[in-house]
């Protein structure tokens, strides 16, 4: 149903009533504001433009005058001289106006930048002659930092030395722009300015500022730099850093000890700069400190130290680097260690990664082996008997390149020819073995190493590389060889030899002797005794035998055969195991033990206890912290193994550093007698400082007094008030003041525990006070501060 329009009385939407008069007033207001704005912009812009225009005109006006002044010569004509005097009068009149003075100053400053030589000197003289520097002095008194800064810049540019005294007071100005401008001015204006600056500056010297200062010094004519080593003792670390850079730049190598000492500086930049200096000046004496610093240095410093060791080091430092190579886990550092090793001792470490195995190459190994076999025979034929006799004392041919340890045993025989045959057959065995083990070899080159291309002269047993040797039970081997029926071996093929050797001897590393003649000779001549002296020769015995050989030689006046030597007389200490540890760059380390005349071929593994201890230590190293110190001390005490003790001591040292022990905390030398809150407080903001003060109120003790006293000198009133409160509280709590009798309740208090913190030596491990989980209160606090420190240092 539709409702007629006349019945609708209440409109759904009612327009608000608005006074149109207000609207008009508002429109007018905004219009006026817009006009004022645009007029203002127009006026200011015009003013700037006209000012620039005036300045430009004035510059044009001044320019010829200045040119006249700059190029005035005494040899000028009379007319020119008159013109010069007129100009001088004219310009003096002009500069009575402030605007003109400013423009003239601006012109002179502009030209100063573009001119050099005599014109520049004349320009500076003109500036001073016209008294424009007095305006700059006025600027120094201004309260606006930008005006002061421009005043200093003007005086510096125009080399007004008289201003030096006025500018030095800005060296420690709180406004950094003024301060930096003043630093440059002071260094620029007088030669001794750099000394004053380094002596007095309290603020940070930014890197850019250091560059600018160095640039100023560099461009100073006839400049004699002072001994910058004097500032290496500055309390301002930035001064020390800058001094180091200056020392390096001016090659002042007379501060060797100071620079070496700075290696131990807490600031990494200083450490790095000191290392650079040491490298540049080739301070070899720093090597020891470099190694000392290395262990606790950051990654960057470690790399810098390694770089320095690479520059300065000798082969004596190789062992240090090899240890690092084993212990370092960081990829970059490890790579650097390897690089340094190879720098000191080129090609000490060969590439091992992504090297193709031997089967990658399609080389006819038979050809190679045949060639090498012939080569070996040729070499052997050339060897004189006395060399062989020397060599026979060991009777071992070493090939450290073989992955599986290999041994060559030469039969002790009278006949040289037989020896040669033995060698031949041994080499043949090696060839066959090489063929059979081809797949196991690392590469073709390693295989070639199997064949002795050259035989070195062996003077003593220590000269022999025995690294490849496993432990050999000589009795057993001799028995096995002797008992071997000849008939079974005689007609065998190469393959059969191989299988036979594997079955009978069950060690692949032995050369397979297959020649009939040799086997026969071995069965008849090789006895247990024959092996014994070979592996049991100590130096003294060896010398004795050498003398014996020589005496026989002289008596018979002929070459000596092996059997003429009385090997049975060789004596060696049964109790004293002779261990020869030979480390070859290309071979795995092998330990050979000679025990009770037996040569054991069994691998020389650690004892189970040692192994367990080492595993435990490695786990501690991975996961442990300072709480493991007690356990580590126990391990040191309980174990007799050097390896275990060394590793445990290493970890003790590591964890001791991570968490200074209580005795260290209170050691005067370590300067850790201060409050544990100190470091945190110094880095904290205002709020945190207040919180820390509250904490001190609760848990603080006398160690906080020093810190609190220093807080009393701060500017913040609230901090001072809080610190005063805490200080009073702590003083009132101190044992000296608190003479109240100890109640039963107090007796149980942790603060009444009567313990004394003692030096944390391994032998004194039981004295360390610890709670149930092995962590002391101080450990916790120290760990906290260490964590914070590490966090801050990234």
């Amino acid at each position: 149903m539709l409702i007629p329009p006349n019945q609708i009385k209440i409109p759904l939407i009612t327009a608000p009533e608005f006074n149109l008069e207000y609207l008009w007033w508002l429109t007018i207001l905004f219009f006026v504001l817009a006009v004022i704005y645009f007029v203002g912009v127009f006026i200011i812009r015009n003013k700037i433009t006209s000012n620039n225009s005036r300045t430009k005109d004035k510059k044009v006006e001044f320019s010829p005058m200045i040119n006249e002044f700059l190029f005035y010569e005494d040899s000028n004509t009379k007319e020119e001289k008159m013109n010069y005097l007129n100009l001088k009068v004219q310009i003096r009149e002009l500069i009575k106006n402030n605007f003109d003075r400013d423009v003239l100053t601006e012109v002179l400053l502009d030209l100063r930048k573009d001119l050099s030589g005599s014109s520049q000197t004349v320009l500076i003289d003109l500036y001073k002659d016209l008294g424009l520097h007095h305006d700059a002095y006025e600027k120094l008194r201004s309260s606006k930092w930008q005006v002061v800064s421009s005043g200093i810049l003007e005086l510096t540019t125009m080399e007004v030395e008289d201003a030096y005294g006025l500018i030095i007071k800005f060296i420690n100005h709180r406004q950094s722009t003024i301060r930096k401008q003043a630093e440059i001015a002071v260094v620029n204006l007088k030669e001794e300015g750099i000394k004053y600056f380094l002596d007095n500056t309290k603020y940070k010297i930014a890197e850019w500022q250091q560059l600018k200062l160095l640039d100023v010094l560099r461009h100073k004519p006839n400049y004699t730099p002072p001994q910058f080593g004097l500032w290496l003792t500055s309390t301002n670390t930035h001064v020390v850093l800058f001094a180091l850079r200056l020392i390096k730049y001016y090659s002042q190598n007379d501060a060797e000890q100071s620079i070496i000492t700075l290696l131990k500086h807490k600031n990494r930049d200083i450490q790095a700069e000191a290392i650079e200096c040491i490298k540049d000046f080739h301070f070899v004496n720093a090597l020891l400190t470099l190694k000392l610093v290395y262990t606790k240095a950051s990654h960057d410093i470690k790399i810098a130290v390694l770089d320095a060791i690479g520059e300065l080091g000798t082969t004596a430092d190789v062992s240090f680097l090899e240890n690092l190579q084993l212990t370092e886990r960081n990829f970059n550092i490890k790579s650097k260690v390897v690089g340094t090793l190879n720098k000191i001792d080129p090609e000490r470490i060969l590439p091992t990664k992504n090297i193709a195995t031997s089967d990658f190459y399609d080389v006819e190994l038979d050809d190679l082996t045949q060639d090498n076999e012939n080569e070996v025979v040729d070499v052997l034929e050339e060897i004189p008997l006395h060399d062989i006799i020397n060599e026979i004392s060991t009777e071992i041919e070493v090939d450290a390149e073989v992955k599986e340890d290999t041994i060559e045993i030469k039969s002790v025989d009278q006949d040289k020819a037989l020896d040669l045959q033995v060698e031949e057959s041994i080499n043949e065995g090696l060839i066959e073995e090489a063929i059979s083990e081809e797949k196991d070899l690392e590469d073709i080159e390693l295989e070639l190493e199997l064949f002795p291309k050259e035989i070195k002269e062996v003077k003593s047993i220590d000269d022999i590389d025995l690294s490849f040797l496993p432990h050999i039970n000589s009795e057993k081997i001799a028995k096995e060889i002797i008992e071997e029926p000849l008939e079974e071996i005689e007609p065998v093929s190469k393959k059969e030899h191989e299988e036979q050797a594997e079955e009978e001897l069950s060690f692949n590393f032995l050369p397979l002797v297959v020649d009939e003649t040799i086997i026969t000779e071995e069965t008849t001549t090789i006895e247990q005794e024959a092996f014994e002296p070979i592996f049991a020769l100590d130096d003294a015995s060896f010398e004795e035998k050498e003398n014996e050989i020589n005496s026989i030689k002289t008596e018979n006046n002929s070459e000596v055969t092996i059997n003429e030597i009385d090997w049975s007389s060789m004596n060696y200490d049964d109790q004293d195991k002779k261990k020869v540890v030979v480390k070859d760059a290309d071979a795995e380390e092998t330990i050979i033990s000679f025990e009770n005349n037996d040569i054991s071929f069994s691998p020389n593994f650690m004892r189970q206890e040692e192994l367990d201890a080492m595993v435990l230590l490695e786990n501690i190293s991975e996961l442990g912290d300072c709480r493991e110190l007690i356990l580590l001390y126990q391990i040191v005490e309980e174990n007799s193994s050097d390896v275990v003790i060394d590793r445990a001591n290493e970890l003790i040292q590591k964890f001791s550093y991570q968490s200074p022990r209580p005795n260290e905390l209170f050691s005067e030398e370590n300067d850790l007698t201060e409050s544990v809150f100190k470091d945190v407080y110094n880095l904290a903001d205002y709020e945190t400082k207040l919180m820390l003060l509250n904490e001190m109120l609760v848990v603080g003790d006398q160690k906080e007094i020093h810190l609190l006293e220093s807080i009393l000198e701060s500017n913040s009133k609230s901090l001072v008030a809080k610190a005063t409160e805490v200080l009073e509280h702590i003083k009132s709590q101190s044992p000296v003041n608190n003479e109240t009798p100890v109640t039963e309740l107090d007796k149980d208090s942790i603060f009444n525990l009567d313990f004394e913190l003692e030096l944390n030596e391994p032998s004194d491990q039981k004295k360390i006070v610890s709670n149930d989980n092995g962590s002391t209160l101080f450990d916790q606090l120290c760990s906290m501060s260490n964590s914070l420190y590490n966090k801050i240092n990234g």
């Binding site: 320019s63 040119n67 006249e68 030209l111 005599s118």
Partner: protein, 121 residues
Amino acid sequence: MGKRVLLADDDQLLASLLNFRLKKGGYSVHHSPNGKEVKEYLKNEMPDIIVSDIMMPYCSGIELIDYVRNDLKSNTPIIIISSAGNEQNVLTAFELGANDFITKPVSPTELLVRIAREINK
């Protein structure tokens, strides 16, 4: 009438000063504050030597050398004024055929000597 020198530099103060010194040294100097004017001038007249700043509006000193050597096929000696640390530009200038260069801050006397040497070659 001395030798004609074209001085191309947008820095009015320095140009005025060099102009003054060169005139005093007996040269006839024409100053152009930008590359466009220089090119216009060179179309009509070839000076005995050109002294040009590297950094100029409209046409840089490098372009000016290229214009003189390749477009105008002129062997007029060109001395380049460059700021210190602008060695790459100087090398380019030499490759394009500049005869000499002088770095700012300039010694007017030195410039005079170099101009004399280039003109007398």
